[in-house]
Amino acid sequence: MIATLSMKVPPRWAEFDAVRDRSLEFLRRNDVATDPCIAVAMVVSELVENAAKYGTFRRGSDAIEIAVTLAHTVITIEICNPLGPNQTCHVTRLDGMIQWIRGFQDPFEAYLERLKEVSAQTLDSSESGLGLVRIAYEGQAVLDFFVREQNILAVSAVHRL
């Protein structure tokens, strides 16, 4: 069985609860058990919030695109947002962060490391990456991304039931 929920929302925080609720409803309607439903909804929320925080939405029509696909025992979440021309550092950092998280068999190890850094004193104002680690650890999802044409950042998370 393959089913997909597609949504497109403006980068406004007031919209995000509805995205989470619709994702939950879609998964429940497709007989996904409660625990993975909650885990995947958390993953969707984290990725949408990241898209709003780090995306560059210059035109009124620029939006966050969300797709949640259930294919047999695999749930794939894909979130796309436009990037600005000067966001190379952000993308490079995201690249390193995702590869680092995925370097551990147990994402708990990444979670421990990131907790240490979050509680550290810092001269750096960029994001801690704790949200991405939560996706891997609590959401049990494998993260990945690429930057597609038109400078669109496409982040995906794959959760196996």
Partner: protein
């Protein structure tokens, strides 16, 4: 705002109302080397300060009481070591700070935070069931008993002259390695059987628990230590690949040599070595196609090239250097350096110049460029043997689509990917902390589904665990 890779960190030391402005010259794990702005009024050594304030990009952090200890030598004389950077070292007196990431990302943690995390780590074992605990205990008992025999040999050799010591170790390795492999392989088989029916998240937990117990066995092996620590931030770096290609004994003790060599003789490691022969054949075919089309040199792109060891099987005679125009792409500067050195060594050996250039980029971020073929041209051969094992299906599909568009008509895309039946999988995940994105035949073939006109073919290497997808553009 993101920060550059090496930060400029400034600061000031304060004591009794006086301030000394400075910059951090080098960050050691638990101390700092500093250079004062006013070199004519350096503090005496040692001087106690009430606090150190560090600043960077408009942000500041305050660290506690510390001691300034000036450098003892201002210039090297005779056999003196080279001078230390800066005017001296700052040592902290009330807290142990960890500065390892200070110059990279501006973060300073305290050792006390690690101690505070201990309950979280300690409580993690409560989810590990009694059967797995008992299994790990038996397994590690066996291995520690085995190790103790060889550690005793090392101890007995301590007072022998270095040549005699090394000779005896080599004999012990030659005589006993085969027996160790049979012993260890049997234990790995038991581990695979024990975790066979375990779910994915429980496997992660078991792997974490297992590595904590087996850490001294893991850390005695140069290879296993590197796969676990991942010093470049990701698994499968070029140094690991080089160890696999070299396939030799390494280590001070006999047992550490066993533990280094064994994981690089697995099926998965053989599969890595098998890539060389396969790629040499793909180069030959690309060269032939370019020659038949009277297109001059065959244009080749290696994506995530690593140390590019396959070029040793490609550039094997002076004439080969005229056949190819090669771009080596990798995200890792160290890998590109190694590849460049390998090419230079081949050039020296054969007295010929290779047309090889390097490009540092991540495949995940380079795909947005709409004019990739304008930048790089088109290729007769594009290959990536060790990257798709790290890409999830959506990203792999996007990457293969872009690479396919960079092929010349008649050109070929060669993609490697490990199959889920990789017999080394449990060994890699539990002992090496090395996780791959495995694909079945269908999943790998699906990547070629949407490539217009593509002619895909799938094959397995001799190890039976690595697949190769070859896609020809008509």
């Amino acid at each position: 705002m993101s920060l550059p890779s090496t930060l400029v960190v400034r600061g000031s030391l304060e004591a009794n109302g006086t301030r000394h402005a400075l910059r951090v010259s080098a960050a050691h794990p638990h101390s700092l080397r500093v250079t004062f702005d006013d070199r004519s009024a350096l503090p005496a050594s040692p001087t106690h300060f009430e606090q150190l304030t560090l600043t960077c990009e408009g942000r500041e952090v305050q660290l506690g009481a510390c001691l300034f200890d000036a450098n003892r030598h201002s210039s090297p004389l005779g056999d003196d070591p080279p001078p230390e950077p800066g005017d001296g070292r700052i040592l902290f007196q009330e807290a142990v700070y960890d500065f390892r990431t200070l110059m990279r990302n501006g973060r300073i943690s305290q050792f006390a935070q690690r101690v505070q995390q201990l309950p979280l780590v300690l409580s993690r074992q409560s989810r590990v069931g009694a059967p797995f605990r008992a299994f790990v205990s038996r397994l590690l008992y066996d291995l520690q008993v085995y190790r103790a025999v060889f550690d005793e040999l090392d101890r007995n050799l301590e007072h022998e002259p270095p040549e005699a010591r090394e000779r005896v170790k080599q004999i012990a390795v030659q005589a006993e390695y085969g027996s160790f492999c049979r012993f260890f392989d049997e234990r790995l088989g038991l581990l695979a059987e024990e975790v066979r029916a375990t779910s994915g998240d429980l496997q992660s937990l078991h792997g974490f628990f297992f590595r904590k117990q087996a850490w001294d066995l893991i850390s005695c092996s140069e290879f296993l230590l590197r796969t676990n620590l991942k010093p470049r931030g990701f698994a499968g770096d070029s140094a690991m690949m080089r160890m696999i290609y070299e396939n030799q004994f390494r280590g001070a003790s006999v047992f550490s040599r066993f533990m280094h060599r064994h994981p690089i003789e697995t099926s998965a490691a053989s599969a890595v070595r098998n890539r060389r022969k396969l790629l040499a054949g793909a180069y030959l075919e690309a060269g032939r196609r370019a020659r038949d089309a009277q297109a001059g040199r065959a244009r080749v792109l290696s994506v995530a090239c690593g140390p590019a060891w396959e070029l040793r099987d490609v550039l094997t005679a002076p004439g080969d250097f005229e056949k190819y125009d090669i771009i080596l792409l990798d995200q890792d500067a160290a890998a590109l350096d190694e590849a460049t050195q390998a090419v230079a060594a081949l050039e020296e050996t054969f007295g010929a110049r290779a047309q090889v250039s390097t490009q540092r980029d991540s495949v995940r971020t380079m795909l947005h460029a709409t004019d990739l073929s304008t930048q790089w041209g088109q290729f007769d051969l594009i290959y990536s043997m060790g990257m798709f094992d790290y890409l999830t299906q959506p990203v792999a599909a996007a990457v293969i689509s872009r690479l396919y568009r960079l092929l010349r008509p008649g050109g070929e895309l060669v993609i490697g990917n490990f199959h889920p039946r990789n017999p080394t999988r449990i060994y890699m995940e539990y002992w090496m902390d090395w996780v791959l994105c495995y694909r079945t035949e269908d999943e790998l073939m699906q990547l070629a589904d949407r490539l217009p006109g593509a002619i895909p073919a799938l094959s397995f290497d001799d190890s039976g665990c690595q697949m190769t997808l070859r896609v020809r553009r008509p």
